[in-house]
């Protein structure tokens, strides 16, 4: 059982304080850095896609998991990021400039959505963001002069600082760079007042207000940051897809993102990463399963959504804190061995919300 002996406040603030954490994170980062050495192109591409979805997940997690604002429309920001970047690059704008412009645009749209949605809660917010998603999807489809509409838009090749990065491993490192940046930055956010104000708005708008938190502005900020990060994921996603179509960024995609963060574990950056891993592994696991199941079940078209649905239901009913929750319990078990007790993790339930003022 490792007990941390802290002597300064810095020890509390620092990431990776315990040796165990350092080792774990170190191994993962080393693996990710070395991946192109032993993974084939196809798997490298899949890993890169996983990283991109992790970024998108972190974007949504900041908004929904940390600030408590349910957003059903985040695929719209993926779409805005992907399309804006591709359109800019196809007109000759350099990669770096395009990234900055696209992220800013995405962030601003997010802030506008946050402003309109700041008075709404929970379910109304989800529906409003869903409607926003549908409108963006329609816009992408109908604005043919710019986006080529439903015929699709070809994504220009990945080219940074004039160097063409056509190879799989090159694109992979770009994805990895941005992923590490976003993970680091997002984690930073939550050890500062800005991040804490997000948590405050999630848990009690009322007392947050009485402590000086401008709740409306926090929501706008959170929407903006979340949209910008998800827009970044959209940029990287575009280079994986190489061909964009409006219906890729629809309700199903938004549901995938939601699934990621809920099953991963609401309220933690690691949860978003776990969720991304799950989303990427599911189709792979499915194709393995298909070989073992009798043909009548295995060949069905609806098998994947069915499994998706079942997994969500099982997690929410039996492990509401998601994969992250289960991970924490396992970690806690090992750290406090042999003193672990099941009652160490007690879930807090809140009953009818109308009984409490927000």
């Amino acid at each position: 059982m490792q007990v941390l002996f802290k002597t300064r406040y810095e020890d509390d603030i620092r990431f990776l304080a315990k040796t165990g954490e350092k080792v774990r994170v170190g191994l993962v980062v080393a693996f990710l850095l070395a991946a192109p050495l032993f993974l084939q192109t196809y798997y490298l591409g899949e890993l890169g896609l996983l990283l991109v979805y992790a970024i998108a997940g972190i974007g949504l997690m900041i908004l929904t998991g940390h600030t408590g604002q349910v957003s059903f429309g985040h695929a719209a920001f993926l779409g805005i990021g992907a399309y804006c970047h591709s359109i800019l690059m196809s007109h000759g704008v350099p990669f770096t400039v395009s990234v900055v412009v696209t992220m800013t645009l995405s962030g601003l749209v997010g802030m506008a959505l946050g402003r309109s949605a700041s008075k709404m809660h929970g379910f109304y917010l989800a529906i409003a963001t869903l409607a926003f998603l549908m409108l963006v999807e329609t816009l992408l489809g109908e604005w043919e002069s710019v986006t080529n509409g439903y015929a699709g838009f070809a994504v220009p090749g990945l080219k940074i600082f004039g160097i063409s990065l056509g190879k799989a491993w090159q694109q992979y490192y770009v994805d990895l760079f941005f992923t590490l940046l976003v993970v680091w930055g997002a984690s930073n956010l939550f050890r500062t007042p800005v991040g804490r104000s997000f948590l405050a708005v999630r848990d009690s708008e009322l007392s947050a207000r009485s402590l000086g938190v401008n709740v409306e502005w926090v929501k706008i900020q959170s929407f903006g940051i979340s949209a910008a990060i998800t827009g970044l994921a959209g940029i990287l996603l575009a280079h994986h897809l190489s061909y964009l179509a409006p219906d890729v960024f629809g309700v199903l995609e938004s549901l995938k993102l939601m699934l990621m963060i809920v099953v991963g574990g609401l309220g933690s950056i690691l949860g978003a990463i776990f969720g991304a891993i799950l989303i990427s592994l599911l189709p792979v696991a499915l194709s393995f399963l298909k070989d073992y199941l009798p043909a009548s079940i295995g060949q069905q078209a609806g098998l994947e959504p069915l499994l998706f649905g079942l997994i969500i239901v099982l997690f929410i009913v039996f492990e509401p804190q998601g994969i992250y929750g289960r991970w924490m319990k396992i970690r806690f078990f090992f750290e406090t061995f042999p003193y672990y007790r099941k009652s160490s993790f007690v879930r807090q339930k809140s009953y009818l919300k109308t009984e409490r003022m927000r």
Partner: protein
């Protein structure tokens, strides 16, 4: 820390539906005093607090704290004038740790830039540590050291009440509004609250305004008491004066035998 100001309330009224929750209430709270508001349930005591915190909009009246006209301010700017509060039903951030809750108490004194926070620049780190120091002082004062890293959701009721008080103190207020600080606590815990309130008054020089039902606590710490019923002010004065007041007795106990004859 800056000096406590006088709280001036004049003709404050608010209506919900057709009912006056608070009707034409006027009173002053002198800087540095302990002022208790008593009255039966539903008398409008918490409503007065909510009006001061600007969570409700009054239908008439004025609220001044020193030279600040509170009615000109939105709710989140009230704490900057030096007023902090606790809530009757404990409005803590359940999923966060005690430390995080207390640090949010420092919020209005922090500068908040998402870009520098994202990069966790040295200035941000330095500011974090400074605020952590201030928070630790309050943790010492209210003996919360062992709960520092616990999530609120895992704490007992008494501990939560403590954290609620501590969080309000972290805002470095000049006036504290305490909504039923002793509700739900046993005698020992209530005594502790009394001692802490006196400590806060003497060490920090903060004005304390509290809504309270526990008359023992009120008698122990309060300098002046105000009794309200049905949204209206019944009496205001020292604890003994208010206790002797006939209308106050009637509000609490109903008509006495002499009145019935």
């Amino acid at each position: 820390m800056s000096e406590p100001q006088q709280l001036s309330i004049r003709n404050l009224s608010i209506m919900f539906g057709g009912v006056h929750a608070v009707e034409d209430v006027s009173f002053d709270v002198e800087p540095g005093e302990v002022f208790a508001i008593i009255g039966p349930n539903g008398a409008g005591k918490s409503t007065i607090f909510n009006l001061i915190s600007r969570l409700y909009e009054p239908s008439a009246g004025s609220i001044h704290y020193g030279e600040h006209d509170l009615l000109q301010l939105p709710a989140h700017k009230v704490v900057q004038t030096g007023i902090a509060r606790t809530f009757q039903n404990i409005e803590l951030f359940e999923q966060a740790t005690v430390l995080q809750n207390l640090l949010v108490g420092r919020h209005h004194r922090t500068s908040r830039n998402p870009f520098t926070s994202f990069a966790f620049l040295p200035a941000v780190k330095k500011s974090e540590i400074e605020h952590r120091r201030k928070v630790e002082d309050i943790i010492d004062l209210l003996e919360l050291a062992q709960y520092r890293d616990e999530r609120i959701a895992d704490l007992s009721y008494g501990a939560r009440k403590n954290v609620e008080l501590a969080r309000a103190l972290c805002a470095e207020p000049t006036m504290l509004l305490l909504d039923e600080p002793a509700s739900g606590l046993n005698n020992e815990e209530t005594d502790d609250v009394g001692f802490w309130l006196e400590d806060i008054k003497h060490d920090l020089g903060v004005t304390l305004v509290m809504v309270e039902h526990d008359m023992g606590l009120v008698g122990q710490v309060a300098d002046r008491v105000m009794a309200v019923n049905d949204g209206r002010l019944l009496a205001i004065g020292t604890p003994d004066e208010v206790r002797e007041n006939a209308e106050v007795q009637q509000a609490y106990l109903g008509a006495t035998e002499e009145d019935a004859e």
